[in-house]
Amino acid sequence: MDPIILGIAVVNGVILGGLYGAIAIGLSLIFGVMRVINFAHGSFLMIGLFIPYWLWQLFGINPYVSVLAAAPALFALGYAIQAVLIAPLYRRERAMVVEPVSALMLTAGAGLIMDNVTFMAFGPDFRGITLDFASKALWIGDVLNINYTRLAAFLVSLALTALLSLFLVRTDLGRAIRSTAQNRDAAALCGINVMRIYNVTFGLGCAVLGVVGCLMIPFYPVSPSIGLAFGVRSFITVVLGGIGSIPGCILGGLVLGIVESVAAQFVTATSASIFSFMIFILVLFFRPTGLLGMKV
């Protein structure tokens, strides 16, 4: 195996991996705090891709600017779904422990509705955008080229992760979220409004997808059906990196990206995805807390 090709594969894997990590952050956060597996995660990403698409298509707004609209919109959507659909589950159970199956199925139902209402509204077509600078790449030497928009997505993903981690550690709201994740009863005793924290966390997890969507749309097309595949991939990333650990997500994403990219050099890409699943399973068996996760 040509070391240059291998090296390039690793670089490309890293670039994509950072993005995978960012996509998975919301899932990790939501699961870490509320122990809910958001089966609709991919569907939120899909909406996060449609918003900048339509803003560009109808008003010519640059997707990087659309973040200002997409992130709040997705925050609101996530907040609403948590508050309206999932919160009743909590209120019903006395110990505020949701039976995981119910919440999972509930979010699955929400995902189905989101996917298909979007389908009914926009049709099945794949929509992509072309930006002038989107086709330009950063050339290193003669062989390695990194597309600017992908590079930007990678860098912003890292920045976002750092910001989020800082937020969780430094701000009051962030600390409230972390303490609720550690022990909700104790948090409640400290005067934290646990239900409100849940709502905000869910909203925050979805808002991240709004940002990511704007980063992705320049190089990746969207259609109402792409949700499930991204959801599954996010599960793998989260487990790899460790539930509840934000930096872990990026790490998990990087591992996934590199494994996919390198494996594709040795086997056909279709079989390479088996490797991702296998690593996922191995991690769950031998190191269930993931690379950086906290004890479940």
């Binding site: 994509l16 955008i129 890409a269």
Partner: protein
């Protein structure tokens, strides 16, 4: 609401729903044609386009007075959604044949679905006109009621290589090696299998031969490999999202393929693909599809169809829309000759089909006739080359517009 109440209400609603549907009667004095299409799920795009084409044709026929041989009966189309799943398609076929008593059915775009639905139709002795499905097996089972006007998969592969051969003969220059990149589910893989066989027979060397996972976000790995193996021509079978991503990355990476990229449709037939990639990226790309894409500029009577289609879906007539349109006029021709709604008479009319002119040939074929297996052996695809964002037919030579000269070999990126 108390759970008990909810339960009772739910049961009552279901029963009412059920009763109403059963009681809703049937209308008379029209010809019902049944169709199963992928209107939701992964193949919804193509299914919707086919449906639209059929509707346009049916409206035209009805506006001109319906089907004369049946006393001016108007066409009523009944669509069932296969949800892109074979068993759902089978369900819908059962339902439409049983409940609606249709004499003919058509569909279903996806080979996996059509394989199953044609078998159901065969059991009910109902003629089925295939649209869009290319799997060879569909017309290899000795069925009497299945008729396919479009290409079998093996024709597609053959045509791509024939076109390369033709261009080589015309210019004296041609590729010695070929690379294959296909999507990893049944369509891509079967196309690759056909290509492999034919390419070997025709003496090409296969230096790159891979499938990728549908929905891949990053083709840098494959592009790297292609660059290192240097195939002189590339054949691709990709669906829309993959084609968009690959084309963008190929363009960024300035991938040079001396004798061009030959795409066998799907993604490269989708108008959304062309909206999502820069024009320079697809320059000189060859596209094989069932439909002669520039027919709407060359043949006058196709223009209103194109216009209507664009009104309904927002983009110009596609191959699938044309297939739906063609299917309607083929059925019209059959019904005219059968003069009855009896399925056996209709089947015999299908067998004797020999269309050599008219709207059914909107695809660009010269003839529609079915061999003993129900396959139209005169079906052929049309290969076009992209010039400044427009596809212009270059093969078969009989369909090539006058004065058009294909660009062969393809200039390198730095020379453009």
């Amino acid at each position: 609401m108390k759970p008990k109440m909810f339960f009772v209400i739910a049961v009552a609603m279901s029963l009412t729903f059920w009763t109403v549907t059963v009681l809703a009667g049937e209308k008379v004095a029209e010809v019902k044609l049944g169709s199963v299409m992928s209107l939701s799920g992964g193949a919804a795009n193509q299914g919707t386009q086919t449906k639209t084409g059929a509707i346009i044709a049916a409206d035209e026929i009805n506006a001109k007075g319906g089907i004369p041989a049946l006393g001016g009966a108007k066409i009523k189309l009944i669509f069932g959604d296969s949800q892109s799943k074979p068993d759902v398609g089978a369900s819908e076929t059962e339902r439409i044949i049983q409940r609606e008593n249709v004499p003919i059915m058509f569909g279903a775009y996806q080979s996996a679905v059509t394989t199953v639905t044609t078998e159901v139709a065969e059991r009910y002795k109902t003629p089925w006109l295939v649209t869009g499905s290319v799997a060879d097996i569909i017309t290899q089972r000795g069925f009497k009621y299945t008729f396919r006007p479009n290409n079998k998969a093996v024709y597609d592969a053959n045509e791509q290589l024939q076109a390369i051969k033709t261009l080589t003969q015309e210019t004296g220059k041609g590729p010695k090696s070929i690379g294959i990149l296909v999507e990893g589910s049944d369509w891509g893989k079967s196309h690759a299998a056909n290509l492999r066989k034919l390419a070997k027979e025709m003496g090409y060397e296969l230096v790159f031969d891979e499938a990728y996972s549908p929905g891949t976000m990053d083709f840098s790995a494959q592009i790297l490999k292609i660059k290192s193996r240097k195939p002189e021509a590339m054949v691709m079978a990709m669906y829309t999202p993959d084609h968009i991503v690959f084309t963008k990355q190929m363009y960024e990476g300035r991938l040079d393929i001396p004798f061009g990229i030959h795409s066998v449709g799907a993604g490269s037939e989708d108008p959304n693909f062309y909206k999502a990639v820069p024009v320079q990226a697809i320059e000189y790309m060859f596209v094989q599809e069932d439909f002669q894409i520039d027919i709407t500029e060359l043949v006058d009577w196709t223009k209103p169809v194109d216009k209507k289609f664009a009104e309904m879906l927002g983009y110009p007539l596609t191959s699938y829309g044309a297939q739906g349109y063609s299917a309607m006029y083929t059925i019209y021709d059959v019904l005219q000759r059968a003069g009855s709604l009896d399925k056996e008479k209709i089947r015999e009319a299908f067998v004797k089909t020999n269309i050599t002119s008219g709207p059914a040939l909107i695809m660009g074929w010269q003839k529609i006739a079915f061999d003993k297996d129900g396959q139209n052996v005169d079906a052929h695809g049309v290969i076009s080359q992209n010039f400044k964002g427009k596809r212009t037919t270059i093969w078969p030579v009989a369909n090539r517009p006058k004065g058009i000269k294909p660009v062969w070999p393809i200039p390198a990126w730095k020379d453009r």
